[in-house]
Symmetry: C2
């Protein structure tokens, strides 16, 4: 253990605070919802540009698309056994009963966000529009199948 | 508007759902808290490795450190005017009264996560430990100054 004592104390303090907050299952549900919230925040401005509701800002589009690509890889690990129901979640049981299909749907979203990030690097809104639409469709498809209204 | 109608309808449906959820200020508070939750989730496993509570997994450490670097750049934009108080937030007024200092503290965290990502690429836990400690200290310093207990 080469870690200096002050840093170790800091880590302990931070992790202890987390430990009191929730069970492992509650943490996983909170995490996956947090990722979705973060995705939505970064998705919104690109959508507004695509719809012509805000001026096209290629740097913002590129930044947010890169974020979406990174964030898209994060939610799946929050859907762990024991978080199917009972917690603060809208997930349908089907997501766990058909985990292979659910994972495939997540991977579809991931590959579409990667394509959006590539399109955003072009700096061309006409390339971003269809790629954005494909991400939106991947989101909606998974929500329709696996999230309760 | 070259977007095909089905995609446009999807985008409208997704954005309308978001619009009903909360005010702009509530969205910003929800967003910054979501980023913090996502940071904590990805921070934890590296901390457990550093403390010897779980086996060192260099790929997981690298992946999570890369995520922390990306996530570290996200929370600041959630601290917009109108979100100082009144909402579901523990932020202290000082964060808004001393926004330059608050921003500097955030930037310190960002640069420390970048160093952690570099250290994690070494695949050497002895390089990760001090870099991790520096991230933890940057987190704690900002929490101590700007987050209510």
């Amino acid at each position: 253990m080469k870690l200096a004592l002050p840093a170790a104390a800091v880590i302990l303090a931070l992790s202890t605070a987390a430990a009191f907050a929730a069970s492992k299952e509650e943490e996983a549900i909170k995490y996956r919802k947090a990722v979705m919230t973060t995705i939505a925040w970064n998705f919104g401005p690109i959508g507004a540009m695509v719809k012509g509701e805000r001026p096209f800002d290629k740097n913002l589009a590129m930044r947010n698309a890169d974020r979406l690509e990174a964030l898209g890889k994060m939610p799946l690990e929050g859907f762990v056994p024991g978080t199917e129901s009972g917690g603060d979640t809208k997930v349908k049981a089907e997501a766990f009963l058909e985990m292979d299909k659910f994972r495939t749907a997540m991977e579809k979203m991931q590959s579409e966000t990667t394509k959006l990030a590539v399109a955003a690097r072009s700096g061309n809104l006409d390339q971003i529009k269809p790629a954005f639409g494909d991400v939106a469709k991947a989101c909606k498809s998974c929500h329709d199948n696996y999230r309760a209204k």
